[in-house]
Amino acid sequence: MKLLKMLPFLSTALVGLAWFGAPAHAYALQDDEAEAEDEEAEDEDESDAWYAIVGGDVYTGTGAVLRGATVLSKNGKIKEIGHDLFLPEGTEKLDARGMRVYPGLVALSASSRLTKGLFQAEPEPDFDPHLGVDNLHPDGRANAHLDTGNEEYDEVADIPTDADVLVEGQLLRQEIADSFDPFSQYLVLALSTGITTAEQSDTPVKLKRDEIKDVDMGPKNVYSLNFSLSNPNSRRQTREKLEKASDYLRRMKAWEAEGDKDKKEPSKKGVDMNYVRVLRGEVFAAFNANDREELLDIAHLAQRYRFRPVINGCMEGWTVASELGRAGAYAIVTPRTRSPKSEELVRPGGSSIENAAILHSHGVQVAVIPGNTSFELNGMTGRDLLHLPVEAGFAIRGGLDERAALDSITTIPARILGVDHRVGTLEAGKDMDAIITDGDLLHYQTFVQYTVVDGKLVYDKEEEIFFAHIRPRPELPALDPGEEPGEAEAVVDEEAPADEDAEEEAPPESEDDDEGEGADDQGAGEDDDGRL
């Protein structure tokens, strides 16, 4: 029986016939058969966690929209998205009929309260953990100048420097895993908004609930450079370091081309390896810049040294969008930024509601963050992390298309954090981080009904105190978990005579038909992205 159920999988692996009549326990064949079969054997493992979001309109974030489709995951990774999927026995099902399924949102620059909980004080916006003191000690410890002579005390009192964090790659990550509060109410609020990945102290963090395993998604992906007009000294240093790093890479390339192992490797003396990593494309160079002249300078710098800048703020970006586009820039913008242009200037300037749209139309990759990247709990709503999709809505107001607006809070921030291979869209192989909403994500009235992280349900609107009382979710006729999917659907057909349900839960059709349907759906999805 079990084997019969496996048939759809097997047929896709083109080994269905070979398997027919094979021993009941697939893992018995593990050693003898081809690799594909190996995989099938794995599928049989009783300890595998299968999770399926069933029957929703799936907005994959790649452009495709599949109506009434199923997203199936295994052990937290998406296995398959489509219609009439075979769901292995024991698959946990989430009924998403009549709702929409989107990838989990990715929040840049999010408040550290989110993972550190209620008792973590909000740091001052300009707080510098090094207290404005550069490394004075040859060992690179930031506050070595405060040494008391008591080694034990000095070690405890030490603060890791940026360089420690980046080069060692461990210090800060260790800290996040240690300080992550998986029971934080702020975490639940983030999940209620649909945020499943957040930037915490420059590193990507998976918002897991009730567990801390694998919350740390990797090292920091950006290195901050200062190229501010108000700080000529930093500008000079940045340029010098880039020049030296560029020179080092040239010498390195020549040395490698020569292939003479006896010859000494080029010297790293005076070379800041962080800049080398920027030039190698291993990390992004991040800037804080709003002023048009600064943005132009950054664009020119990026083109000269061939790196991709991530520009936070980018308020006057709309006035130099083509230069930023040519430099391959990323921009992190807040569409509602409100700053009039200086009256002394004749040229265009100041903030513009059209900023995101203009940048996007020139090829800049635009990510959106709200004006307040924490949680506003004083009663004023609509401009904090709880309303991240609303902020993307304001980008649409300025002319950004709806698809790019969804990207601006999912896949583009994921790229900036270096985790777009795992999150940001719904695709086979990526993490099963999905949100189920009761309508268009970018509509102000829409609530997230469920949030799934790594194939586990971590938020259910009806089960939390925050929003359950607002427009309670109507009950759907049950998707019978005990039945085969086909049979369950048949039951639903009988119980829910409504046209929509009948259409969604139509009995399985042949594969060819399905593909045709999928293509139609995509077309419809494009239309849908227009406006509502």
Partner: protein, 428 residues
């Protein structure tokens, strides 16, 4: 690109400045007929027709003439036609709690009660902040004194677009600002709520006595009183023409506002802010006809401190507008308390109201931005709706005004174009 007709208008405007005063729809000019896919009429009577799909809106001499279905025939002969396509047309949005109408020196903290102070001396017409509001559809604001003192003075009701004060003015005494709880009790050494309530009663009684002396004199029942600018406003408050806009919040204080100002003193009053559990008094507000203009808070959030303060026993994010609605109050509007929230954020206040549970099945959100505040301020005959005879303050908008994704394409004030993004650039 400048379309030929617009270009011609610009040329005409350059050649003869007087020509702009004769623009179609404006006072003295030919009629203007807007064709729209949806006209949100927002009639004061909630049971009257609120929406006309595929409509002609005719405007003459700065006033709305009629809103009719396109199926009932075209506009009158000689009217300039403007087809706004799929855009909607609605009345200009009305803000009843604005501090961005001019300079910010609107808190006189020498005395606890300043009924003679007037915000109109601080107005800067069509300033940058108002212009951003206009770009979001806000055409009228009630610019009021701050809540630093118990009685802050008179607000002024004026339109955001016109450059001259006289053209912009709707009513010079828009409201008298009263502040209960939340700021004035901290005045100098902190007078506390008991003294505040005594002071409010005392001031109002003296003011009403002044009004009565003048009424008696005019009716030939008494001697001529001495003119006193500090109390003069009470003559118009006593008739109900000028409402009391009350900074009030927390259930008990909202109760005090209703019982003292409305029930005891019998004055025209509305609840301003009225958040932090104030909605629990919504039933009483409905019984006595006291509207609530809620904001800038739109929810009582789920924090322990807020729950204990609000005493509303609710651990979720409780929508304020939704709460009043649930208690049966019909007249519910929205405010921003700009610059606490920016002036252009007013439509979003309605969106947040709806998000957190306010029913919008009978255009309540749009009414709460337009005709409800207009009725509350006692000027619904002039602004807040597209009813015949009202000022032609209209906005052409790409969708539902509460939706952040909708943007204003064009604004009219008194039938004249007041914000034209395709000429002056998008502001918001």
């Amino acid at each position: 690109m400048v379309r030929p007709t617009r270009f011609l208008q610009l040329v005409l405007a350059c050649l003869a400045p007087a020509a702009s005063a004769q623009a179609p729809g404006a006072a003295g000019g030919p009629g203007l007929a807007l064709r729209t896919s949806k006209a949100l009429i927002c009639a004061p009577d909630a049971d009257a027709r609120q929406v006309q799909d595929h409509a002609w809106i005719t405007v003459k001499d700065g006033k709305i003439e009629a809103v009719t279905s396109v199926h009932d025939g075209g506009p009158p002969e000689g009217y300039e036609v403007l087809d706004v396509g799929s855009n909607w047309v609605m009345p200009g949005i009305v803000e009843l709690h604005c501090h961005e109408g001019g300079t910010y020196d609107i808190n006189d903290l020498v005395y606890l009660a300043n009924p003679g102070l007037r915000a109109n001396s601080a107005v800067i017409n069509r300033n940058d902040r108002l212009l951003r509001g206009l770009a979001a559809g806000v055409t009228t604001v009630l610019f009021i004194p701050g809540s630093g003192a118990n009685i802050g003075g008179a607000g002024v009701l004026f339109k955001t677009g016109p450059k001259r004060y006289e053209e912009a003015l709707v009513r010079e005494a828009g409201s008298l600002k009263l502040a209960q709880w939340g700021n004035p009790e901290s005045w100098t050494i902190g007078v506390g709520m008991s003294f505040e309530n005594w002071n409010t009663r005392n001031t109002f009684r003296r003011g009403l006595a002044y009004a009565k002396r003048w009424d008696d004199f005019e009716a030939g029942r008494g001697p001529e009183p001495r003119f006193d600018p500090q109390w003069q406003l009470f003559r118009r408050i006593a008739t109900g023409e000028v409402p009391i806009s009350t900074h009030t919040q927390v259930y008990q204080v909202v109760l005090m506002t209703i019982t003292m100002i409305k029930i005891e003193l019998g004055l025209n009053v509305f609840l301003d802010h009225s958040t932090i559990g104030g909605w629990l008094a919504g039933g009483l507000a409905q019984e006595y006809g006291v509207p609530a203009i809620v904001g800038p808070r739109s929810v009582d959030p789920a924090t322990r401190g807020m729950i204990e303060w609000a005493r509303n026993g609710h651990e979720g994010f409780r929508g304020v507008a939704a709460g009043y609605q649930e208690m049966g109050l019909e007249q519910i509007g929205f405010n921003t308390d700009s610059p606490v929230l920016p002036q252009e954020g007013l439509p979003l206040q309605a969106a947040m109201g709806v998000r957190y549970g306010f029913r919008d099945d009978r255009l309540q959100a749009v009414r709460g931005l337009t005709v409800v505040p207009a009725m509350t301020a006692g000027v619904a005959d002039r602004i807040g709706s597209l009813t015949p005879g009202a000022d032609a303050d209209m906005i052409v908008i790409s969708g539902h005004p509460a939706d952040p994704r909708s943007h204003v394409e064009l604004s009219f004030i008194d039938g004249e174009r007041s914000y034209e993004p395709d000429v002056e650039g998008r502001i918001y």
